[in-house]
Symmetry: C2
């Protein structure tokens, strides 16, 4: 083995969370931004590397993958909680967005989100919003891998005052970012079947198809949406999208709370991916997605936090925990979804949904060196009977070390690529213009 750039030693290595056995104690060697080798410590001839990181018994696993976010909405986190969805949207979020969303806001608020995600062990996010040029810059500047999807909606939107230009704006974003930065893959985010016409949806998919990139879309999030589409178009949201011909292996359907077996069979047949956002589904009282049925049907399902205004956090450890637990009560079955399945959703399976299968979400020779180290020497992680504790007991704050593309981004729980203090001050100043909504 050539001398690695970074050698992580003395870890409990989880090469494919939820699937493979652990290697303990194990090492991971990183070279040129990729995994060069991994294995048991006993097989490591000479523990040499330009830099050696001693995991001290911590868990070394692939960085977590956030399948759905609106990062810039950190500005609105906690602005208006515990409200009916329409009151929340129409009286609080939409008016605040109209007033405040612009490239500068998107840049700084996405930076704040990037800091939160990196510090809690997320190394890749699929983000969808407007002014995505600014978000993409923020992610790249912070060292966070991103699938950055420009929003398309049939309403005036930040940066796209005339909806007639929405596809053109998305095309411009794709042209700007395809092959621009190894960390950022551009994509298209069609908002939903109830805010995009059939024509817009088809055009968005054509655009994505032409460039072989993913199309993201919110689908079947609420009962109301399902009823609305049924009334207007005589079909379920999934069937509507299928009839438009926009479901394929590069279509990612977000939410899918109100889908039935026929919908799932269609998604499986088309090879479409799914992202569920369990905490957002709880907080907005949308419901609980039929995850057991999705997994049993062979569907690829990723885990997303959704935007920080409907969660209100971006910690995927918390999301994994809630995901596994809430399914058990949905089905009144403690075996409904196992911790290992949720770990796979947040790593390898999540990568597959985003079109990054084998690239990240896995520790394997040749894969990108996106990985994290979770400290186990903490009272709430002892004794450590097995990796299930990563789901039911670990928290984002247990992450000590984060590498993205082989670059150390977090060390000893501190960000190396940015100063969070400056970003917090900038975002706080913007928030002050919103005024206090809570006591």
């Amino acid at each position: 083995m050539l001398t690695p750039d970074i050698l992580l030693i003395n870890g409990l290595v989880l090469p494919e969370p939820g699937i493979s056995k652990v290697i303990e104690p194990g090492y991971v060697a990183v070279r040129n931004g990729r995994i060069a080798a991994l294995g048991p410590m006993a097989e490591l001839a000479a523990p040499q590397g330009r830099e050696v990181i001693d995991a001290r018994g911590g868990v070394i696993l692939p960085g977590l993958i956030n399948g759905h976010c609106h990062a810039a909405m950190t500005l609105f986190r906690g602005l208006a909680d515990d409200l009916p969805l329409l009151t929340w949207l129409h009286d609080h979020i939409f008016p605040a967005e109209v007033r405040l969303v612009n490239p500068e806001m998107v840049y700084w608020c996405s930076r704040l989100a990037a800091a939160e995600m990196l510090l809690s062990g997320t190394t890749c996010v699929a983000d969808g919003y407007f002014c995505m040029e600014a978000a993409a810059r923020a992610f790249a500047d912070c060292g966070l891998r991103a699938v950055a999807a420009q929003g398309v909606i049939d309403f005036p939107a930040p940066g796209v005052p005339d909806p007639a230009d929405n596809i053109k704006a998305a095309a411009r974003f794709l042209d700007d970012w395809l092959d621009r930065d190894p960390l950022v893959s551009p994509a298209v985010f069609a908002h939903s079947p109830y805010t995009c016409s059939a024509r817009t949806l088809r055009a968005a998919k054509d655009l994505a198809r032409g460039r072989e990139i993913p199309l993201f879309i919110h689908v079947a999030e609420t009962r109301e949406e399902k009823a609305l589409i049924k009334d207007a178009l005589g079909a379920s949201p999934v069937k509507h999208l299928d009839a438009l011909g926009i479901l394929d292996e590069r279509t990612v359907c977000i939410h899918c709370v109100w889908v039935d077996e026929e919908d799932l069979a269609i998604l499986a047949r088309r090879g479409a991916g799914i992202v569920i956002c369990p905490q957002s589904h709880l907080k907005l009282a949308s419901g609980t997605a039929p995850l057991r049925g999705m997994l049993a049907g062979g569907l690829q399902v990723a885990l997303g936090t959704d935007g920080p205004a409907s969660n209100n956090g971006l910690d995927l450890f918390r999301e994994m925990d809630v995901c596994a637990k809430v399914q058990k009560v949905r089905d009144l079955d403690p075996v409904a979804v196992r911790a290992g399945e949720v770990l796979a959703m947040a790593t390898g399976m999540g990568a597959g949904v985003l079109g990054l299968a084998g690239q990240c979400g896995v520790l394997r020779e040749g894969a990108l060196a996106d990985l994290i180290v979770v400290d186990r020497q903490r009272p709430h992680l002892q004794p450590f009977h097995g990796p299930d504790l990563l789901v039911y007991s670990a928290r984002g704050s247990d992450v000590r070390t984060v590498l993205v593309g082989g670059r150390p981004v977090v060390r000893d729980g501190c960000l190396l690529t940015m100063d969070p203090a400056e970003t917090m001050v900038r975002v706080r100043r913007m928030a002050e213009t919103l005024g206090r909504q809570n006591p």
Copy 2:
């Protein structure tokens, strides 16, 4: 004001979480273990104290109150997850308990739990287990306030091999601990209506009544329990307890997942308290307690983590978050339970359930100085639109400072009263005898 022992300054002070307005910036003065004064910084003539703690804008609030725990079960955390309840209990937990539960195990494993609780902002726990003498010593040694309840069950139990001695053993524990340590209040924990005979339940209540202390009991946790009691006794679990005459202001009913409106009316009439454990209810697939109905009926409801083997953690911030969210989906109503109500459950209302109303769970002149400081200078807590973020965004790891009875127990996120490393080693060694159950 006499010179305080400790003066906390520059905080966002929440005297009664979920009820009172915030004081910002504010101070809290502590003297002789109690709150001596609090108010806006502007009213603080001279910022003097034997010790001054600058909260640097952090939130100062009462320490959180864990209404139900089996602390010593840290040993079994993650030992056997994602299993049906009876398999979990009979094949894993009960055999492990028979082999391993003894005073030494209870002492060290309760210490580990105390470390986790204090580090995550819990200043008072209601704990129920066996060999409670050892648990009480562990809590007192670590500086954690506790209502320590000796278990009573009609089966051979650790420390009580002959169930005929169960009441006697509880009486001995009460005699030993009444007025022994200002941090520990002894109590009785009758396991449940399905593991204790009518005679045992009455005797346990008589014992508690005689000493004017609380009786805790698991009630209506699962559908199966409800059906079992109904078949055997022709009544709901709550009605059964009521018929036995054991429900009063000093009876605390834990779980209450499967209660109907009549049950809640009975509990309200008797003035009994309730503790719900939302994450345990999810993880064991028990269901979701009808919290909205409880609060609307004027019942006092505390929040508990349950034991770490069925959660798997003791962080009440996480518990608050899940509690508020899961209720919204239970009722498909985003307003079902507000963040402020859950904050009250984990502080002032929780204290009321444990018989400590006005003593803790509130920052008020004369109350015990059990308080915590939550750092807000973290990416996931910015911008801070209001205290709802304590529920939906904060984590136990955001707690920087903890005082119990005026004694600094945690400073800068580090425990002052014990060395967690030694405790982790001791518990890990015990765990090694259990063998690995997970891959």
